[in-house]
C-alpha cells in the first residue's frame, strides 16, 4: 500500500515534467557503437582476458604441457627475470629504430610537403610501394642486402668502416636488426609527419621569417612545433610495432645476443613445451610496459592537438 502511494507520488511530478525532447536521439550513438563494441568484446576483450588467465596458470610438474587454472604470479617473476635482456633489447632496438626512422623521415616528409612540386605524387607512391610486397619477403631481401658478400658490406669494406661493425660484419648483428626495423617501419613515420606538414599553412611559416626568425629559427620555433602531432603519431606508430616485432630479429639477427621479446614469446609459445603461461606473461608484461611508456610520452609531449 505504502509502496503504491510512493510510486504514485513519484509518478506525478515525472509526468508534469516536459518530455525529454529528442528522446529518440539519445540512444542512437550507442546503437551505432554497438557493432564495434561487440567486435571488441568478442575479438579483443575476451581473448585478452583469456590470455591474462593463461598467464597465471601453473603446470603439472610431472606432465609438461598440461596446466591447471591458478593464480601463479611466479610466471611474471620468471618472465621479467629470465628474459630481462630481451625486454632491454626490444626497448633499445625499437628506440634506435624510431630515432633513425625519424631522422630519415623528417627531411623526406619535409621535401614532399614543401619542395617536391610535381614530384610529390611519385614520392608518395615510392614511400607506399614497399607495402605491395609482404613484410617477410622484404625482410628476407634485406638479408641479401646486408649479407657478408652483399652491397652494403662491400661499400663499408671499401670505406674501411666494416671493422667498426660488431664482429666485423653487418648481418647477424644488432646493426642489421635495427636497420631492418628502421626500414620496415619508415613509412609509418613518414606519412603522419608528411600529413601534418602538408596541413601547415605556408603563410604561417612565412610569418616566422617576417618576424625576424631566420631559416633555422623558423624551423625550430614554427615548423617543427607545428608538425609535432605528426611526429608523435609517427614515433608511436614506429615504436609500438617495432618493440613487439620478432621477424627482423629472427631473419636479420643472430641466434644469440640479438633476440627481442617477440622472439621469446614466439619460441615459448610454439617451441617450448609448457611455455604457454610464460609466453602469456611475457605478452602481458610487454603490453603493460609499452602502454606505460606511451602514456608517459604522450603526457610529456602530446597535446590536445594529437590526432
Amino acid at each position: 500500500m505504502s509502496a503504491l502511494a510512493h510510486m504514485g507520488g513519484g509518478g506525478a511530478p515525472a509526468t508534469a515534467m516536459p518530455p525529454k525532447e529528442p528522446s529518440g536521439r539519445s540512444w542512437l550513438p550507442y546503437l551505432l557503437l554497438l557493432p564495434g563494441v561487440l567486435w571488441l568484446l568478442v575479438f579483443f576483450i575476451y581473448p585478452l582476458a583469456q590470455l591474462f588467465a593463461v598467464s597465471l596458470y601453473s603446470d603439472y610438474p610431472d606432465y609438461p604441457g598440461y596446466y591447471y587454472q591458478d593464480v601463479n604470479w611466479h610466471n611474471y617473476v620468471r618472465a621479467l627475470t629470465d628474459f630481462l635482456p630481451h625486454f632491454g633489447r626490444s626497448m633499445l632496438y625499437a628506440g634506435l629504430a624510431t630515432f633513425f626512422a625519424f631522422v630519415l623521415a623528417y627531411p623526406l616528409a619535409y621535401a614532399m610537403a614543401f619542395k617536391a612540386g610535381k614530384w610529390r605524387g611519385i614520392m608518395m607512391i615510392l614511400v607506399i610501394a614497399p607495402f605491395f610486397t609482404s613484410f617477410i619477403l622484404r625482410t628476407i631481401a634485406w638479408r641479401q642486402i646486408l649479407a657478408d658478400e652483399g652491397p652494403v658490406a662491400w661499400v663499408l669494406e671499401h670505406l674501411h668502416l666494416l671493422s667498426f661493425m660488431p664482429n666485423g660484419r653487418i648481418t647477424e648483428t644488432w646493426v642489421a636488426v635495427v636497420a631492418g626495423l628502421t626500414y620496415n617501419f619508415l613509412p609509418f613515420m613518414v606519412l603522419p609527419i608528411y600529413a601534418s606538414l602538408e596541413r601547415a599553412d605556408p603563410r604561417v611559416i612565412e610569418a616566422g621569417g617576417d618576424l625576424y626568425a631566420n631559416g633555422f629559427t623558423t624551423f625550430r620555433t614554427v615548423t617543427l612545433p607545428m608538425s609535432m602531432p605528426g611526429v608523435i603519431a609517427g614515433t608511436l606508430l614506429t615504436f609500438i610495432p617495432a618493440a613487439g616485432d620478432y621477424v627482423n630479429a629472427e631473419l636479420l639477427g643472430s641466434d644469440t645476443g640479438t633476440k627481442m621479446v617477440g622472439n621469446v614469446i614466439e619460441s615459448q609459445f610454439f617451441k617450448v613445451l609448457g611455455g604457454y603461461p610464460i609466453a602469456a606473461a611475457l605478452s602481458f608484461s610487454l603490453m603493460a610496459l609499452i602502454l606505460a611508456m606511451v602514456f608517459l610520452y604522450v603526457r610529456r609531449y602530446g597535446t590536445e592537438e594529437l590526432l
Binding site: 603563410r203 616566422g208 617576417d210 618576424l211 609535432m228
Partner: protein, 387 residues
Amino acid sequence: MARNGRSVSGFREAKGDLRLENVTKAFADFTAVDDLSLVVPRGSFFALLGPSGCGKTTTLRMVAGLDQPTAGRILVGETDLTGSRPYERPVNTVFQSYALFPHLTIRDNVAFGPKRRGEANAASLAEDALALVQMTHLGGRKPAQLSGGQQQRVAVARALVNRPEVLLLDEPLGALDLKLRRQMQVELKRIQTEVGLTFIHVTHDQEEAMTMADTVAVMNRGRIEQMGPPVQMYDLPKTAFVANFVGQSNLGQGHITGRDADFLIADVQGSTVRIPARRSSVESGAVTFGVRPEKVSVKRTRPEGTGNDVRGTVLDVSFIGVATQYLVRLPSGTVWSAYEQNLDLEPMDLRPGDEVWLTWNPGHAFGVGPDPDAVQAAEAAKVGAGE
C-alpha cells in the same frame, strides 16, 4: 651574416622613404605586378585600393621579402632591400589570412617578434600591444579558440609590437564589425602618427582608405592607375576605372568637338556638355565624360541657360535619410544617378516613369580617356544597387 657587404642589422636599421623602382613580378604565365614605381614618404599612411587579384598582396609580399621581384628594386631610405631576406628587413606584415602560430598562445604569438630581436622586455611589449587591440583577456588562448575578428586583432598586434620602419597591412580589418573597425581605424591612425611608422594599408573599403590615408593609390591589373591625396582622387579621377572605383560616377562615352575658352565642348550621346580643360585627361577625340552623382541635381523642368543638362526618365527613387538617390535612364539608355539632399520643405515627390532634367555645374565635370568597359561597369553597379 654579411650580404652585399652589409650586415643583417644594416638592413634592419634602414630608415627613410619606401621606394619601389620599376618593380615587376611575373609568375610562370602571368604578370601580377607590372613595372610599378612609387615612393611612400617616411611616416605616411599609404592606402592601396584595387579589385581582387590586381596584385596588392603580391606587392606587399615583395616589400616584405616573401617574394623577390622579377625586375626592379625596393629601397628603404638609401638601403637597397632587394634580395635580402624577410627577417633582415625592418618590415612587418599583417597577413590577409592572419597566419597566427597555431601552437603558441596569443601572448606568445605577439611576443614572437620582440623575442627574436632579443628584446629583454618582450613579454611586457606583448602585453601592451594586446591591450591596444583589446585582447589582453584572451592572451592565454590558442588562435584556434578565437573568432575571426579576434584573430585579426592579434595579427595586427603581432606585427605592430615590433614598431617596424614599414608596416604592411593586408586587409587588416576586413573581419571586424563596423563599430570595432572604426575603433581600430582610429587606433591604427593614432599609432601611425604617434610613432611615425610608414603604413601600407591594403583595403577593399574605399571609405577606410579615404579617411585614413595621406595617399591613396588605385591599382588595376598590376599597375597603379592613379595615386594622390584622397580629396584629389575623388575630385579628379584620371581614368574611368578610378572614377568608378573611388566612389560612384556618372559616365558617358563621347567625343570632343571643340573648345570654348577654358572649356572643352563634347558631344556625349547626343547631348552637348562642357568639361573644364584642366579637368580632362584628353584634349581631343574620344572621351569619357564624368560627373559625380552628388553634383547632379534633378529638376522637373528644364533649367534655364545652364547648357549642361540631359533629359531622362526616373527609374528608381530611394530615400536614404540624409539624401534621396534617383536613378535616371537617359535617352541613350545609360543610367545615371543623382543625390539630392532632403533640404526642400516640399519634396519633389518623383515617381518611376516621371520625366526629369538632370543638371550640374560644368566646373564639376571631368573627362578621362575612353574606356567602354568601365562605363558598362559603372552602369551595372548602379542598376544592381537600385534593384
